[in-house]
């Protein structure tokens, strides 16, 4: 099965990181990404620019409406994702638990829909 692992974290905490903190985080993510590439689970994955760069789009009555920023105000924001292949939910939970962001943020696991 394929699962999308969505990493949520507090952006305000992220902005407080100093250079050493950023370097450490980047190294941790690099190591995790390498580990799931080597184990054959990795399909895709990226970090995202902060929510200050986000645009939300809706179409109402045929008109495109855009708003600045994310749809809802929350404590944690989507910061990145991995798309992985995993045998079952337990394997996906195990992988999600190794994502560096799981230690201070949270990772939501969603099975990817299969179209038949």
């Amino acid at each position: 099965m394929q699962y999308l692992l969505m990493i949520y974290r507090s952006e305000s905490e992220f902005f407080k990181l100093n250079d050493a903190g950023l370097a450490k985080l980047s190294a941790d993510y690099g190591a995790f990404t390498q580990s799931i590439i080597q184990s054959g689970h990795f399909k895709a994955g990226d970090g995202l620019q902060p929510t200050t760069t986000a645009t939300t789009v809706r179409v109402r009555d045929g008109k495109i409406l855009t708003t600045d920023g994310p749809f809802a105000e929350t404590r944690e924001q989507l910061a990145g994702y991995y798309l992985v292949d995993a045998k079952d939910l337990d394997a996906a939970i195990e992988m999600a638990s190794r994502i560096p962001g799981a230690k201070d943020g949270s990772v939501e696991i969603r099975p990817v829909m299969i179209y038949k």
Partner: protein
């Protein structure tokens, strides 16, 4: 053979039949639907013909064929054959083996799936009661005090999640086992508790649920020997269940511990429970909640009568429990034990202090415990009020009748 007798067989066999079917057909929903069809076939056939020698094997075999029919129809309907259904079809051609160990493994797989931590706790219990214990959706709904419709919805969503989220149908690997086991034990104990004192209805006990919980704990103890928490829980349930015959009159009236005829207690079960408590307490590690509760039950089981019970040690063990796993139930039980050591006034102080802190809000046994203490203190008017509150708080008829008897004894 009456339909009531057939219903009972369905209840007894659902868990194991379903567990095996899920393995055979590889799909939770398909297995459940097929089993329902097999039940319908049995209701049709059994009253007219002779009962099959092995009803479960009959149900599994009929349900398996129903499932194969469905898969064939699906395959004919769609042109392509998804790998999963194809595999399921191949597996389903194998005749189910009546091998005890394989059936036990099926049951364990089903339990670990129903108790998967990605479900909310109440969903785990509901799924286990419905699928492992074979309760109807209506019975599960009653156990949760929700409507049948809402419970049916909850179960459908849970089964959808098993399939869509890829929750594995297997016993977890060694390293994840400890954590997962804790969740399973919590569910088993909840099932037992419902069997020991039912939430609502006419009967105080549901011995079938208690038996099912004990059976599941035995299975776990066999599969994972040397686990204190499993031995502790098994011992606890055995020792409590051993008092069953003494806990009510033939007419279904509650007999409290202090009035029970201890000759009615199941001595063989007590012996087994006591041995398991010893084993659990001797295994290395910090005090474990189930084992400590079992140690308390063991002190009751060993006592010649209510008065000569080692209340001091029992109160002490409840204090240990309050440190390692505090809860409203433990607080109340501790107070009840203290009432036997230091008297009811001291116990009432404890409870009132707790209540003032809001620690017992909405806990339905609170008024009953207070009522008993007030009665022993001779504070009849306050006791009356507490018994009335206790009666209003319960949905269990034998408990209501017990409170009514107490009220009658207290006089107007």
């Amino acid at each position: 053979m009456t339909s009531a007798e057939i219903e009972k067989i369905f209840r007894d066999e659902t868990g194991r039949a379903l567990a095996t079917l899920i393995r055979l057909v590889g799909d939770f929903d398909l297995a459940e639907d097929a089993l329902q069809e097999a039940f319908a076939a049995a209701l049709e056939r059994w009253p007219r013909t002779e009962m099959p020698a092995n009803p479960r094997a009959w149900l599994v075999s009929v349900a398996r064929n129903k499932a194969i029919d469905r898969i064939r129809r699906q395959i004919a309907f769609r042109e392509k054959q998804p790998e999963l259904t194809h595999e399921a079809l191949l597996d389903a051609e194998i005749v189910p083996e009546e091998n005890g160990a394989a059936l036990d493994d099926d049951m364990l797989r089903l339990i670990f799936t129903c108790c998967h931590p990605s479900f909310a706790a109440e969903v785990q219990v509901a799924l286990t009661l419905r699928t492992v214990c074979g309760l109807t959706t209506a019975q599960v709904a009653r156990a949760f005090l929700v409507g049948e419709e809402a419970m049916a919805q909850r179960l459908v969503r849970a089964k959808q999640k098993i399939r869509l989220a890829g929750i594995p149908y297997e016993v977890p690997e060694r390293e994840a086992l400890g954590l997962r086991l804790r969740g399973v034990l919590a569910v088993i104990y909840l099932v037992f508790t419902e069997g020991y004192v039912a939430t609502s209805g006419e009967a105080l006990m549901r011995p079938d649920l208690a038996r099912e919980a004990i059976r599941l704990a035995r299975l776990l103890d066999a599969l994972m020997p040397g686990r204190r928490e499993v031995k502790g829980l098994l011992a606890l349930m055995l020792l409590h269940d051993a008092r069953r015959a003494g806990r009510q009159t033939e007419g279904g009236e509650i007999v409290l511990l202090e009035e029970q005829d201890r000759a009615l207690w199941d001595q063989a079960q007590i012996t087994e429970g006591l041995r398991l408590v010893e084993e659990a307490l001797q295994l290395p590690g910090r005090p474990e909640a189930y084992a400590v509760q079992a140690a308390i039950a063991a002190l009751h089981a060993r006592a010649p009568n209510f008065q000569d019970t080692d209340w001091k040690q029992i109160a002490g063990l409840y204090e240990v429990l309050l440190r390692i796993s505090p809860s409203a139930v433990i607080e109340l039980n501790h107070a009840a034990a203290v009432s036997m050591v230091d008297g009811p006034a001291r116990a009432l102080d404890l409870i009132d202090a707790l209540q003032a802190r809001g620690g017992l809000d909405g806990y339905e046994l609170l008024p009953a415990v207070r009522a008993d203490l007030l009665r022993r203190l001779g504070r009849d008017r306050a006791a009356r009020e507490a018994y009335l509150a206790a009666s209003a708080a319960t949905q269990l008829e034998p408990l209501r009748r017990l409170y009514a008897r107490r009220l009658a004894e207290l006089g107007p």
